[in-house]
């Protein structure tokens, strides 16, 4: 079984919103579009998006970290939004695990949005149907595109390669390896939805250096218990000469 998903690396996301705009640009004219804006230049502006980037501050100043957090449908393996749909418009594809809305069947009752703990669905206020991330299903299988371009628009747009795309059920895929080796985790695991999308945590590379690693304990010059010359703190040639 295939379960396509995104793996989003919070360690490298810089919060540039390129995935947001690229997603909107591709999908508003794609098969799941349009993603209309109401009063785009008015006072009460609002719009439909599949993908948002949020920003959080972790810790108390001055010991703070800024975490940019891209948020879209997680394509849960046990999606709570699917069984509640009265018409069957909300469905999970067997072949690749993508959760989709059949826009011709949706009655706009909003029950699926109530049933999603992540707030991943947005009602299109103009067409009155539920819209959500499709993992660019109209792009990833498009034979007219170069194989390297058969990826979701957000993945293509990310300038820091924070977004990985692949099959999380294939243990050798890039995304599975990232989840396994980089500590990938799901959101709100407490509800048993088993999100397919995973996030990679912030990671710090720290090297622990001990004092005996800075100064060799087995320095042969110390064998006779005499300190090496010149001693530390004495002027060296570098102090006397300007190169």
């Amino acid at each position: 079984m295939t379960q396509l998903a995104l793996v989003i690396d919070l360690n490298v996301c810089v919060g540039c919103h390129a995935c947001v705009t690229s997603c909107k640009e591709w999908n508003t004219s794609g098969s799941a579009g349009p993603l209309p804006d109401t009063q785009a230049y008015g006072e009460q502006y609002a719009g439909t998006f599949f993908n948002r980037v949020q920003t959080y501050e972790v810790g108390t100043f001055p010991a703070t970290e800024t975490v940019h957090f891209p948020k879209s449908c997680l394509h849960c393996e046990d999606p709570p939004c699917v069984p509640v749909c009265p018409t069957g418009a909300s469905h999970k594809r067997k072949e690749d695990g993508i959760v989709l809305v059949d826009l011709d069947k949706c009655i706009g009752c909003k029950y699926c949005a109530w049933a999603c703990p992540y707030g991943a669905r947005e009602l299109d206020d103009r067409n009155k149907v539920m819209k959500k991330c499709t993992l660019c299903v109209d792009r990833i299988y498009d034979q007219s595109l170069e194989p390297r371009d058969r990826k979701p628009a957000c993945v293509m747009a990310c300038p820091t390669s924070a977004r990985l795309f692949g099959d999380i059920h294939d243990p050798e895929s890039e995304v599975s390896r990232a989840i396994r080796e980089e500590g990938g985790y799901p959101l709100m695991p407490e509800w048993g939805t088993h999100p397919a999308n995973h996030y990679l945590p912030r990671r710090k590379t720290r090297v622990n250096i001990h004092a005996d690693e800075l100064e060799r304990a087995d320095n042969p010059l110390k064998v006779d218990r005499q300190q090496p010359r010149p001693a530390k703190g004495e002027p060296t040639l570098d102090d006397a000469v300007t190169w």
Binding site: V84, A89, Y111, W114, W191
Partner: protein
């Protein structure tokens, strides 16, 4: 959650319609068994017609909740998994049954099906009434389970939600039946008023229990689990956009907590205390006008109760929308 007036009207009107039908048929069943007088037959037809009107009004209200009402017929498809779909099937079935029940009493076409040993005769309306009663309870369960099945909306995810829908619906239905009986069959008003008092009291206990339960809930999801960062101090700087969105409109009631708290006292007063006092006043004075006032007060109270029911529910998605910029 933002309370939608379509859903508030839908659930309160359906609840009262179901309760009124149950009240009517309860009286007929008691009369059949000889517990109550057989003289109130003139009440059954009009009461069932009023019940049908309430159900119809609720059905109309439900269409205002849909973005695409012209596709509503599709919503019967997923009855295997969706409580909403089940409600969509049970509601017309129940309305059809109530229609037949009202027609049997109003037209007089009510053939006797069998004679009981004691001399009582079971006519077609009794068979229809049994089916209607089953549908009425099925509809209460479907309506309540639409909310109770959402496990992360913890204010709703409780058997008390089902109990509340059944008890509040029957309470308002029996109060309405008492007011109708006061006009059409005054001798029988006491029967309905007694049950109205009992169901109002049981509803107050059950709704009070869910208020106490919900006040003690501790959130399962936190901003820590929402973004998966293990740190006690996390503050959202921006939700990613300055405009509103579906997520900020649909899941926040946008009212001051003082208003929400005052609605709680209003509904406790109007849905339970005032109707109970008025029904008690009916027993003391025999006045039928107080029963009509009780109906109006209780329906208003239950609409406030339903508003509070939605406003009280705290959706975990709100964790992601705490700061605009």
């Amino acid at each position: 959650m933002r309370p939608a007036f379509s859903v508030i009207l839908l659930t309160t009107l359906l609840g009262a319609g179901q309760g009124l039908f149950l009240a009517t048929f309860t009286h007929q069943a008691y009369a059949l068994l000889g517990v109550l007088s057989q003289d109130a037959k003139g009440l059954y037809g009009p009461a069932a017609a009023v019940s049908l009107a309430l159900l119809g009004a609720g059905l109309v209200a439900s269409f205002f909740h849909l973005g695409r009402p012209e596709r509503a017929w599709r919503s019967a498809a997923m009855w295997r998994t969706s409580w909403l779909s089940r409600e969509v099937i049970v509601l017309p079935a129940f309305m059809g049954t109530v229609f037949l029940y009202a027609a049997a009493h109003l037209t007089g076409f009510n053939p006797v099906l069998l004679h009981l040993a004691g001399g009582a005769s079971v006519d077609a309306s009794v068979a229809i009434g049994v089916a209607g009663s089953l549908f009425a309870f099925a509809l209460y369960v479907c309506t309540a389970m639409i909310y109770a099945c959402l496990k992360f909306l913890r204010e709703w995810h409780s058997p008390l939600t089902v109990a509340n829908y059944i008890l509040l619906g029957t309470a308002s239905g029996f109060t309405l039946a008492a007011a109708l009986a006061a006009a059409l069959a005054p001798a029988e008003a006491g029967f309905f008023a007694g049950w109205a008092l009992a169901f109002t009291a049981l509803g107050a206990i059950s709704r009070g229990a869910s208020l106490v339960r919900n006040a003690r809930l501790r959130p399962v999801s936190t901003v820590q689990t929402a973004i998966g960062v293990r740190h006690p101090v996390i503050r959202q700087i921006t939700q990613g956009f300055t405009a509103g969105s579906f997520n900020t409109r649909e899941f926040f009631h946008g009212q001051a907590m003082s208003l929400v708290r005052s609605v709680r006292w209003i509904f406790l007063l109007f849905a339970f205390a005032i109707p109970a006092a008025l029904v008690a006043a009916h027993f003391a004075t025999g006045s039928s006008a107080v029963l009509s006032v009780a109906v109006v007060a209780q329906m208003a109270g239950l609409m406030a109760e339903r508003w509070f029911f939605f406003a009280e529910a705290n959706h975990p998605q709100n964790l992601y929308y705490q700061a605009v910029a």
